[in-house]
């Protein structure tokens, strides 16, 4: 990667704390105090993967399978591993990957999977933040919730598979056990939802809960005191070198704490139309 431009950070992020960490070269615009106050109470969930601490144990992969009863033949998160170098100077490292819960580019404000969804933008919905205030957002079969999570509404899904193709990371699959709500001849799309059913109850995602090395750190980028905010700031992670496929302009919110440059060495991208890269295998 040659460009040095920072990942795009949406306006709310910039204005509510994560901006301090992530606003490298981003536009700082004054906004009314009331909007900033409301925004400050809305979380922006994100994950930091500390690649110094991932020991390739696959507890996250299996915890995710169990938590979400993910069928065989597909994954919601995997660990990629790679061995390189010549004996005896051989290296091996690990790279956990999952949905990046992208913020999307400046223009779209949503990632390509949402843009690709024929059911998006659907109806306007309101989402209540802890303060009781409501934030409006556009729903869809794939949509971005105001807390940044990219979610799937399987009742609205038509099983067209456009989101599977649109995701540059290839982290989506069809769930063989769930019919597409709007077209029962098809199966619904599925992917990591950051364990929204846990997060919404104040419990961290299943993959984070079981991570031995604390290589997975989950939290609120809009809270400057959160561990993810502090790590992003301290290690300058909101930069192209520490997110996957920055050049796609998706603005990922999974950051890699990676002083050794493991991410780029290990990462195996999807091949078009295939998901082989997203099958967790130990050689």
């Amino acid at each position: 990667m040659t460009e040095t431009k920072a990942p795009m950070v949406n306006r709310r992020d910039v204005l509510t704390g994560a901006g301090g960490a992530a606003a490298v070269g981003a536009v700082a615009v004054a906004v009314p105090a009331s909007e900033a106050k409301a925004a400050a109470k809305a979380p922006r969930w994100a994950m930091v993967m500390d690649l110094r601490a991932c020991i390739g144990c696959r507890a996250c992969t299996v915890a995710c399978k169990a938590e979400n009863d993910v069928s065989l033949g597909r994954f919601r998160t995997v660990v990629q591993e790679k061995t390189w170098g010549t004996f005896p100077e051989t290296k091996k490292r690990f790279l956990p990957i999952m949905c990046n819960h992208c913020a999307g580019n400046e223009k779209d404000k949503v990632p390509p999977c949402v843009t690709a969804c024929p059911e998006y933008p659907g109806e306007r919905r309101k989402w209540t933040i802890p303060s009781g205030e409501k934030i409006r957002y556009r729903h869809g079969a794939t949509y971005k919730r105001p807390d940044g999570l990219i979610l799937i509404d399987k009742e609205l899904c038509i099983g067209c598979g456009k989101c599977l193709d649109a995701c540059p990371y290839g982290v989506r699959s069809f769930d063989p056990f769930v019919k597409a709500g709007k077209d029962p001849t098809e199966q619904a799309a599925d992917k990591c939802d950051m364990c929204a059913h846990r997060v919404d109850n104040g419990v961290e995602p299943a993959c984070v809960n079981t991570c031995q090395g604390r290589a997975r750190i989950f939290g609120d980028l809009n809270d400057p005191e959160s561990e993810v905010s502090m790590l992003v700031k301290e290690h300058n992670l909101a930069t192209p070198d520490y997110v996957l496929l920055h050049e796609e302009g998706t603005n990922p919110h999974v950051f890699y704490l990676d002083p050794d440059g493991v991410m780029k060495t290990v990462y195996k991208q999807r091949e078009k139309g295939k998901l082989d890269h997203y099958v967790d295998q130990i050689p």
Partner: protein, 844 residues
């Protein structure tokens, strides 16, 4: 390798059935927390991803491997949904590995055996009929009663693989009440050499590594980040030490394991040379004056018990003089400069952990390699010091005991053939079946095994299978199991075991922080089908044979134990444990340096032994009177070690290292061992080349095996989430070694030796030393149900259908390397020489 393109997803989609989930992401839901994640209050709970309901959280304990983590089971409407670590456990700190996470699969895999079965065809014909528990128990009770009434209870043999804590205690209790001591284990294929090496020295066993406090770590032949006997408690502390405190970690291994990969440096080493490199490190440390004097007064390094510390230092220096780094480089392949650097850093570190495991000990004289490790730790004063190699601390439970039978005896088939092993203190389990076949030491008439698969886990496992299949050798065979496997296929009666998630136990595994944790296992769900816990079967069987046990069920046994065990009882006993799962003494402190405690020797009957300087109580030794005790002496009085009180060192009576195991010794670390010398074994740790390796032809390779992060040796292949990740086990081979044989990555290869032959594929890699191949030993299942072996078990009844089975996408199930392993034993410990086999490898 995989076939997960979009077309396949579409196909699967078309073929699937319903089980509809509600739409995720409904609007209008308030966030319960923001920056509080992770919060203490919010751990240990879980919610259904489909209904959003909070799940019932029940504390229990894992059993996928011997680590036995404390867990929380999350249950919805009587079905186990999820397992997590118990956040209140001081051992696991709420973490769980991939195997533990897949525990759900143990309960619900489709081939699970759920009813008692009786063989109706010939052994191995796979013909079974379902019978009732009454029929099964009546049949078994009749056979056992006959042997007992005839005064030959020892002709009933029981053998187990993974039994620990109350699962073992209830079994041993029943067997003692019945009258048989013919009880086999599995430890010689596991780690016996490590135990024997340690027992001969510090009288205890099972070291732990104080990663939380250490400044330096050196690992030999141990894959702490993927497997290990105390995986979760130790691995997380090790990676934390490395990342958060920049603790250097050096891993010597033949293979680039995950542990080696995540270490500061992987140091490749030739097979069987761990002890030599450790002795070379000792050589550097002694010659350069980097040793610490502190521990020498507790070390015996020559015949002379009363040598001065200076004499001891001189003796150790001289004993290791031959093992120069240059000599070690020649043999081990580790550069001399590297040995020097690591030795110096190890010795200079404020504290340092020396870790060893199967790679070190599963060899010819493997027990002696462990003794070399203890020497390195001792001369740097890292034995049982904060941050060092410390003696493991586990929970000490009290439990009820039943009256022991009047006739209580054993067949002598547990310790190998005569002369095979000098100190088989953990038995020679891999020779049990060969000895049964041999017959000259007696044969059991009834053989019952549980949580054990001898026809898979032992050397020459096909040979074991042939003996088990022969009805003329052992006429009646009973297997308690959850899965149809390589051994249960030769049973006459199969009893459906509960999974560990359906039963009661108290547990006691070693802590990583030197503070004992008491914890229990309780059923997360009702046993499926007619599965029954062994601990519930024993009282029932005893009644049918005609005796009573001190407990009526496993739950009763655990309840009584909780009310008998002081700390647990004080905390609230059984009810407290059911609610919390774990208990530790909040005032407990790590007991570092226990050997430095001074001891009062004024008690009645305590005398000082002139030769050794041991204070011992002759009244507890079985000696006739004081005069006899004095004249025979401490070392020669049978039972004297029961009376051990203290070791006199320069006029002070120290607790030192009491002989708490089968070895008779003084209170010193016995680096000079009379026990070993008497049997013609090295009295002081040394380097003994492995005979088969020195005789090996140039074109032969050494075979090694290993575990991955997602499997145990033999009990996880039917777990779909684990086999999905690891179901094939191509042989690791270095690119040079492969090229010499014209082998390319993915090529079919043939691996042969005098014991057996396998066909597999090559994984050509730079992550292994030249001259060997490495094959994971968890796979290659002949029987293990559809997920493990690719074919459904031929047993009637079985578990409920798993709709996910039709999504199984892999058709490879690996090969089993044990067919290439001879049942050779370490002449010291009787441990199976797992890593000594030599093979020929050729392109198929």
């Amino acid at each position: 390798m995989t076939r997960l393109d979009r077309r396949n997803f579409m196909k699967l989609a078309g073929a699937s059935s319903a089980a509809l989930a509600a739409g995720a992401g409904a609007s209008g839901q308030a966030l319960a927390g923001t920056a509080d994640i992770p919060s203490k209050e919010a751990s240990g709970i879980d919610f259904s991803p489909t209904t959003g309901k909070q799940l019932e959280a029940i504390p229990s304990a894992c059993w996928q491997c011997v680590t036995r983590d404390s867990i929380i089971g999350h249950v919805e409407d009587g079905r186990l949904r999820k397992i997590e670590g118990n956040p209140n456990s001081i051992r696991t700190l709420g973490k769980l590995c991939a195997r533990g996470q897949a525990g759900v699969n143990q309960v619900y895999f489709p081939d699970r055996i759920l009813y008692p079965l009786q063989r109706v065809g010939k052994r191995g014909e796979h013909k079974w009929k379902r019978i009732s528990w009454d029929e099964a128990l009546d049949t078994i009770a009749a056979k056992l009663k006959e042997l007992r009434d005839a005064g030959t209870p020892e002709l009933f043999m029981y053998q187990y693989g993974r039994h620990k804590a109350s699962q073992a205690a209830t079994m041993y209790d029943f067997m003692a009440a019945y009258g048989t001591k013919t009880i086999g284990n599995h430890t010689s294929v596991c780690e016996a050499g490590k135990w024997v090496g340690q027992e001969s020295l510090w009288g205890g066993m099972y070291d732990n590594w104080d990663y939380d406090n250490t400044d330096f770590v050196v690992i030999f032949g141990s894959n702490n980040f993927e497997a290990h006997t105390n995986h979760i408690p130790t691995a997380q502390r090790l990676i934390r030490a490395k990342v958060q405190r920049n603790v250097p970690v050096y891993t010597f291994d033949v293979r680039l394991t995950n542990t080696a990969a995540m270490s500061t440096e992987w140091v490749p080493i030739n097979v069987g040379h761990d002890g030599l490199v450790m002795l070379a490190m000792c050589n550097v440390i002694m010659n350069e004056g980097l040793f610490r004097k502190d521990h020498f007064k507790f070390m015996r390094v020559t015949k002379d018990y009363k040598a001065s510390v200076d004499d001891r230092i001189a003796a150790v220096t001289s004993q290791v003089a031959a093992f120069t780094p240059e000599f070690a480089e020649e043999q081990s392949g580790v550069p001399a400069d590297k040995i020097r650097q690591i030795a110096r850093d190890f010795a200079k570190a404020n504290s340092a952990c020396l870790v060893t495991y199967r790679g070190t000990v599963m060899h010819y004289h493997g027990a002696d390699q462990e003794r070399a490790a203890m020497l390195l730790a001792a001369i740097t004063n890292n034995l049982d010091r904060a941050g060092g190699r410390v003696m493991g601390v586990g929970a000490g439970w009290k439990h009820p005991s039943s009256p022991v039978a009047e006739v209580h005896k054993s067949l002598n088939i547990n310790d190998g053939f005569p002369g095979e092993a000098a100190y088989p203190t953990h038995h020679v389990s891999h020779q049990v079946w060969p000895m049964i076949k041999d017959g000259s030491h007696g044969r059991p008439k009834v053989y019952w095994w549980s949580c054990y698969n001898p026809a898979f886990i032992n050397g020459d496992n096909n040979g074991v299978a042939a003996i088990m299949a022969d009805e003329s050798i052992v006429p009646f065979q009973i297997c308690t199991t959850i899965v149809y496997d390589e051994s249960s296929q030769y049973a006459d009666i199969i009893l459906p075991d509960v999974t560990y998630l359906e039963r009661w136990d108290w547990e006691d595994m070693v802590s990583a922080n030197q503070i004992a944790e008491f914890y229990i296992r309780q059923p997360l769900v009702k046993p499926l089908g007619e599965a029954r816990c062994q601990g519930d079967v024993w009282p029932e069987l005893a009644k049918r044979i005609g005796f009573e046990l001190a407990y009526s069920s496993k739950e009763d046994f655990v309840r009584q134990s909780c009310e008998m065990t002081p700390g647990v009882k004080g905390a609230g006993g059984f009810e407290y444990m059911k609610k919390h799962g774990v208990w530790h003494d909040p005032n407990a402190k790590p007991n570092y340096g226990f050997y430095e405690a001074t001891v009062d020797t004024s008690g009645d009957g305590v005398i000082l032994d002139d030769e050794t300087g041991v204070y011992w109580n002759w009244k507890k030794s079985g000696a006739k009177d004081e005069a006899e005790a004095k004249s025979v002496g401490y070392l020669k009085t049978p039972g004297a070690k029961k009376g051990y009180v203290a070791q006199d060192i320069d006029g002070t009576a120290y607790l030192a290292y009491p002989p708490n195991t089968k070895f008779v010794k003084a209170g010193y670390l016995d680096f000079y061992s009379d026990n070993f010398a008497e049997k013609g074994l090295p009295a002081f740790p040394t380097y003994t080349p492995i005979p088969e390796h020195t005789k090996k032809a140039d074109d032969e390779l050494i075979l090694t095996t290993y575990k991955t992060a997602v499997h145990t040796h033999s009990r996880t292949t039917h777990c779909k989430w684990l086999s999905e990740i690891k179901h094939d086990n191509p042989a690791w081979i270095n690119s040079k070694t492969a090229a010499e044989r014209g082998i390319k990555d993915g090529d079919a290869i043939k691996v042969t030796n005098g014991t057996g032959e396998i066909a597999t594929t090559a994984y050509v890699t730079e992550g292994i030393i030249p001259g060997i191949i490495a094959i994971s030993h968890s796979l290659g299942r002949q029987q293990s149900g559809v997920y493990g072996s690719g074919k459904a078990s031929p047993t009637p009844g079985g578990g409920a259908a798993d709709p996910d089975a039709k999504n199984k996408w892999w058709d490879k199930h690996g090969v089993h390397p044990n067919v290439l392993m001879a049942n050779w034993s370490d002449p010291i410990s009787g441990t199976m020489r797992w890593m000594d086999n030599v093979v020929r490898v050729a392109k198929a």
